[in-house]
Symmetry: C3
């Protein structure tokens, strides 16, 4: 994609970054540091890519002051190169404004209130009493059931489903295939047979939230499921009923949060993390990829589980050794007896 | 949501629960035990919430006889409070009856048979020879390919896809984004290049099954993929070709079942469980969240895998110690030699 | 499903398999070895099913020369029974040719170029400058945003979403609910608050790729996300931005690949595998189900992680013993001191 053109000096001023070299360089687009050529700006934020700095063909690089010493071309110097890059890219590739209107094939209940500045695309279906604010874009194929409310400047890309009574804040982006407000997994057991528990809560999505493709967020069983402002959810995440996610928390793809769990503010969950139900994860807690979280962690910190992959032969032996730990402990106990040393009760007698 | 009103005494009679206190109390809605106010009924089924009992402002509580002693308000006493709650909620929040009809924007093949009592929503597409029974509701944006059959009173919420020849039983609920009958992952290898194996089986869904949002169920490669009656599937579950799931089994979100595996009746699989192919899991087997199941378990029981998350520093040390178990065993063997004790062959010589 | 009829001898000739017994047997359909009856051909490729060979009622079996000795009926003998079966099934159940045309309810931008031999189904939405080649089938409810290109004979089954500028090769199959080209999970942190990083790359899908139901593939942040020719992706896979997957690699359901990771040619990833970002997995690397891959593996080989499920009681003890490994090592060190043996520094002093 080609972007809008800027002088590097103007970008420096606009974004409050330090200019290194000529401000007259014209920036027309962004590229990676290794691919960049004439007119391109790139960034260096991950040390894995530092090897490409001295030979980059970019017209300018965004980097920190240490790396700036080796930069062969003009630069924007900053403590947070990735953030400044994001802002530069937002200027080079501005999101086009929404043109208001309703496509002829959209099916809209008479009682829905669609702001004239909002766009409703082809084959969209909108139920009774839905309220859609100014600047909203509802992409093709989306279904919005009764009583939903969508705040200003939010965007449903395409094929999004909002079940009844879902509330979406302002400037929310929802990617294709996402389902918000589906019934939670509530089942009471009657002598082996499951009886459906009515799910009568709703989903509330705060301002500035982004929700990835095919992510699902269930409605509350009684209380609402709440995604607070600024939260970022990647693709294929499952959020169960009654979950509460605090401001500015980010969750990577394929994670799953079971029912009634509360996650604090400023947390990060890696891809594939699973959190069981009725837990409380405090503010500023962080979980590495594929961790299984089975208890509450209220203190800020970095938490992990799981055995990373190794060559299969090594892994098979490791599993076998883990399975033999009882025997390992028994051997130690026998040695302790022989040496007339006191034994570790917790290891040998009690538990095994 | 506000519901229908009932007197507590009538609910007790209707549901066969023991009435404690006045039966004249009017119940208008349900709430959680901590949020409940005037007119609300709540339940106490999880001991984590017992702390809220003595101060609840609910008009009535559903609980067991032990908890009933401390209950400050009228109550319904029962051995299974969650089930009685589910039934009360079903009365307070009845599902509205389906109004028959076909929306003008639905596209329906001439050879399809739609019962006049069924509802077909906007932008629904229905293929040749599809049969839709009385009371069925097909929500907006759903696609039903040729030769599918949907039994009485089933509901496809919205944006559901049924691929050709899928059979859906009675009173089945399918949530948005679910895909039933997609081709299984069948690939034969021809010197490194994959050749697609035709998937010529179908999917059969029994009566009273519920299927969560964005869950996928592949058609059989030869035999059918079968989901038996009363099964509950949460969101984002992947069921591969030829899988057979027995009556009344419940599977939580993000679980994946590989091809040709059979799961018995009355089983439960926690969130994110992965089951490899061609296995047999017996009736009444239960698997905790994120377990990896790599062999058959035919006996009833509770099975688990995985290392739950701990603080990252502790986890890193644990991983290192697990990786050093070979060295640990060697140290023990050396001690045994020194002490002239017989060594454990399986630990030291053979395997390592 | 009933298929087309063939004589076994003709199949043998057509596919280059050795004929055992009469070539006059008529084959009308395929079934499993245990279910097969008159007119059915079946195959034996997995030793678990060998028990059914001597009693099969099939009209013919596809198997290897060793098993052929026990085969009670005519057979096709080959080194690769599953591949020959796949080819037989492709003959018995041919894919019906696409009939060109555009359904009246499809919404197509005037600037899109649809080949007259392509089929565009009901309620499909196609944006500006989209190019659709001969023989393509776009199933009901699919949304194709601006500037997408779809090569000859590709098939979007139904309810597929292609975001803008996505390029699809020839003979690609995309199953329902798949989303290609959604924004990657790019977020720069500004004092705790996330700032969206524009995702300006695209997705390129090579020829002969198959993409499963509800799988998501994000567009590149700067470079493109690339799925090379012949790749097979099962259902519910998440491919993040900038990922590159080499020719003929196959990935099973529920796997997730984080951003900027490169996977080589001829690899296989089991179900639920998670790969973290910025890694490089070489050609012919293979990963077992649910493995967590946290570092690059450049050499061909088979890699694994994870603890498979066992009975819960055993698992709880194993976890406890793993957690006590520090104490275990201390006990060994004490014994070594007592025996005046040198201690293993790495186990006792340094790390713990």
């Amino acid at each position: 994609m080609s972007g809008v053109a800027y002088h590097l000096g103007d970008l420096a001023k606009e974004l409050g970054a330090e200019l290194l070299g000529s401000g007259d360089v014209e920036i027309t687009h962004a590229e990676t540091i290794q691919d960049a050529g004439e007119g391109a700006i790139c960034f260096l934020a991950n040390s894995k890519y530092r090897q490409f700095l001295t030979t980059t063909k970019a017209s300018a690089v965004i980097l920190n002051s240490t790396d700036a010493k080796q930069c062969p071309v003009p630069a924007l110097v900053t403590d947070n190169p990735y953030l400044i890059y994001a802002r530069v890219a937002s200027l080079l590739y501005p999101v086009s404004a929404v043109t208001g209107g309703i496509h002829a094939t959209a099916v809209i209940d008479d009682s829905a209130k669609i702001h004239p500045d909002a766009w409703v695309g082809p084959c969209v279906v909108i139920g009774a009493k839905v309220e859609i604010a100014s600047g909203v874009s509802v992409g093709a194929g989306s279904v919005i059931e009764d009583n939903c409310v969508i705040g200003e400047d939010s965007k449903l890309v395409a094929n999004v489903t909002l079940c009844h009574d879902t509330q979406i804040g302002k400037r929310v982006i929802i990617h294709p295939g996402a389902v918000i407000g589906s019934d939670g997994f509530g089942n009471a057991n009657d002598k082996g047979v499951w009886f459906k528990v009515p799910q009568i809560g709703c989903v509330q999505i705060g301002d500035d939230v982004e929700i990835g493709a095919n992510t699902t967020i269930d409605r509350g069983s009684l209380r609402n499921t709440v995604i607070s402002k600024g939260v970022r959810l990647d693709n294929q995440i499952q959020i169960a009923h009654n979950v509460h996610i605090g401001d500015h928390t980010a969750i990577a793809g394929c994670a799953g949060i079971a029912g009634s769990t509360t996650i604090g503010k400023y947390c990060t969950l890696g891809g594939g993390v699973g959190v069981t139900g009725h837990l409380e994860l405090g503010d500023n807690t962080h979980f590495s990829a594929q961790s299984l979280v089975t208890r509450s962690f209220k203190n800020p910190g970095y938490y992990s589980g799981n055995l990373p992959a190794v060559p299969n032969g090594e892994w098979r032996k490791t599993i076998a050794r883990v399975r033999r730990l009882q025997r390992t402990n028994q051997r130690i106990s026998r040695l302790e007896q022989t040496a007339c040393l006191s034994q570790d009760e917790s290891d040998s007698s009690q538990e095994d």
